[in-house]
């Protein structure tokens, strides 16, 4: 494909340069057909990737209004092509949402380009609104056109792969007939739906409905979901910095005041092991400085002034994060990095490189998690470490023998941006735990092979220092003896049944927010 597209394009350029006008049209046809075939191949690949469940969501916090404006600019020429008018209507303020923006953009662009394709001298509209719903509000985006429309029979088939309204459509309008299938799958992957209503000769409306997940915790500045905001309300009021123009949505954007982060958590999780940061730098004053920057944030800081000590400490302490100076005498930072990455036990520890070179390092070499330039900026350092910590905290192990329940919980958590591992019984759970060491555990009690109680006992015995956040999900009425057995390591018990999924999600979020630094 590359060769067909590339050489035909080159020939076209050369034909233009040499004045061989009679060849240009034909070469253009080869080029256009090549592009079409490539699009078809890519769409088929996308679809089979979805079928094979190889597609993952990559949610981020975005402003939907900004996204829509951006899309509007992209589709304007496309819509104007057939004398259509494009209107973007944002009917209720949506504000920031937590969603896979790349996929959402792809879906909306697909719907709009379809609408533009099948409409002439008419209107294409995108209507955005927020629908009230529980547990989450719904983001509703309707793409409406005044185009050729479809019959009921055509509507039925419109989302099937490879089927456009009818065979002549492809001839007249082009396209691969896969865009809508892909868009629908993406919507479903996000926990939503894509539907269509249409009337022959009047127009069509495609409706995206996606639940609005509140953004999870990130480092430093994070969005506080309403249910958590109430918990911290007092602290927010005490904050003398007024929050400017809070978006009129469910979430408020707030810089979390330092006093709120530390003492609150320390009281809650007294006696728990703090997260360790290993600092490797040949410059003693720098070691001291970094220590003084990170310790008030609640981290345990280990220091090494040479490569050898650094590697030894890394092996002994298995720190959460390593910060590494690039320029060191004898063995430099890159060599230490190489040694770290070559050791299977240490390879997964995120490394922040620190160097005096002020030019931003191009790219992140060899699995470097972050990069900071010297002189060390306290805020940037703290934010970088906190970000890596948040990432480590986002792993959840779900141990549940019921396939449906397990899939459901996993899907909910994935949709919320968690890194989810699943196991069907205690033994499998133990094995997975040893490999991934997640912080959060969602645990069923009654299971074959090894039940939830046994798994917890084993984990506590084997890893007494691990700070696990356990949420038990059970259909069982727990006896006092059961509760005793769980006490100490279980953060929360959720009864299976109506609404339990919400509670699990909320609890996972909550334990993550109150987990120790």
């Amino acid at each position: 494909m590359n060769a067909i597209i590339g050489y035909s394009e080159m020939l076209q350029e050369e034909a233009e340069d040499d004045g061989l006008d009679e060849y240009i049209e034909d070469l253009k046809r080869i080029h256009t057909s090549g592009r079409y075939l490539l699009k078809l191949i890519n769409d088929v690949l996308d679809l089979s990737k979805i079928e094979a469940e190889k597609v993952e969501l990559d949610p981020e916090v975005i402003g939907i209004e900004g996204l829509m404006e951006d899309i509007k600019a992209t589709v304007r020429p496309l819509v104007a092509d057939k004398d259509n008018k494009f209107e973007l209507k944002i009917e209720s303020k949506i504000g920031e949402i937590y969603v896979d923006a790349t996929k959402l953009r792809q879906i909306i662009l697909n719907l709009l380009s379809n609408a533009a394709k099948f409409t002439e001298a008419g209107t294409v509209e995108a209507i955005v609104s927020r629908e009230r719903s529980t547990p989450f509000d719904i983001l509703a985006i309707d793409v409406r056109d005044s185009g050729i429309g479809m019959t009921d029979a055509q509507i039925e088939k419109v989302f099937d792969p490879f089927s456009q309204a009818d065979a002549s459509t492809t001839r007249n309008y082009g396209g691969t007939g896969l865009g809508l299938s892909i868009s629908r799958r993406f919507c479903e992957l996000m926990g939503g739906s894509l539907t269509c209503t249409s009337e022959k000769g009047v127009g069509s409306t495609f409706s995206i409905r996606i639940p609005i997940h509140p953004p999870p915790q990130t480092s430093g500045v994070f969005k506080v979901p309403k249910h958590l905001k109430e918990k911290y309300e007092k602290d927010f009021e005490d904050d003398d910095e007024p929050v400017d123009e809070p978006p009129p949505t469910e979430t408020a954007v707030l810089e979390v005041p330092e006093h709120l982060r530390e003492p609150e958590q320390d009281q809650k999780r007294e006696g728990s092991t703090p997260r360790t940061v290993l600092v490797i730098d040949d410059d003693e004053p720098i070691l001291d400085l970094v220590k003084r920057m990170l310790e008030p944030e609640g981290y345990r800081v280990l220091t090494a002034n040479n490569a050898e000590d650094g590697l030894r400490l890394a092996r002994e302490a298995k720190p959460m994060v390593i910060t590494l100076d690039v320029v060191m005498p004898e063995v430099d930072g890159w060599s230490v990095l190489k040694a770290l990455k070559a050791d299977p036990e240490l390879a997964d520890i995120p490394v922040i490189m620190q160097t005096i070179v002020d030019e931003p390092l191009k790219g992140f070499a060899m699995g470097v998690a972050d990069y900071l330039s010297k002189p060390i900026d306290r805020q940037r350092l703290v934010a970088a470490v906190a970000r890596l910590r948040a990432k480590a905290d986002r792993a959840v192990l779900v141990v549940e023998d019921d396939d449906n329940n397990r899939d459901l919980i996993a899907q909910w958590l994935k949709g919320d941006g968690w890194e989810v591992y699943t196991a069907a019984d205690g033994l499998e759970g133990l094995d997975l735990y040893e490999r991934c060491r997640p912080i959060n555990l969602v645990l069923d009690l009654a299971m074959p092979n090894m039940d939830g109680f046994e798994l917890l006992d084993t984990l506590r015995k084997k890893y007494p220092d691990d700070d696990l956040q356990v949420i038990v999900v059970t259909a069982k009425d727990l006896t006092a003896a059961d509760r005793d057995r769980l006490a100490g390591s279980v953060m929360r018990i959720v009864q299976k049944g109506e609404g339990s999924m919400n509670e699990v999600l909320e609890q996972v979020r909550r334990t993550a927010m109150t987990s120790p630094v």
């Binding site: 191949i41 990559d58 992140f364």
Partner: protein, 120 residues
């Protein structure tokens, strides 16, 4: 004019891209795989490397990680070229240390823009 090294195992892709770059005035060094790339790098350090990802033996990510870990080559910008732009390829390329990323078949204007941005 800057010197560009193209690491690409597919002969036609190599031919096309090198011809088009030379036409724009760049000097182009060619390598088919990791071994050839390191051989070329011994003689001459280019101003930029275009790195195909799907290579026999060591893939482009691996080669890039090696380049970025070597102080002699760490500063040479690398643009990764992947076949089908899938979500996540960009992240993978960046994680491997690449400075930019583009998908094949290349849009020559866009690629030239990226080359200029990194060599200019």
């Amino acid at each position: 004019m800057p010197v560009i090294m193209l690491v690409e195992d597919n002969e036609m892709n190599r031919d096309m891209l090198s011809r088009r770059l030379r036409k724009k005035g760049y000097e182009v060094l060619l390598a088919e795989d990791a071994d050839e790339a390191s051989e070329r790098l011994n003689d001459h350090l280019p101003d930029l490397i275009l790195m195909d990802i799907n290579l026999p033996g060591k893939d482009g990510y691996e080669i890039t990680r090696g380049l970025k870990a070597d102080p002699r080559t760490a500063r040479i910008p690398v643009i990764a070229l992947t076949a089908h732009a899938m979500v996540g390829d960009r992240e993978k390329a960046m994680a491997a240390g690449c400075d930019d990323y583009d998908s094949k078949p290349v849009d020559i204007k866009r690629l030239l823009g990226k080359i200029e941005a990194l060599t200019g």
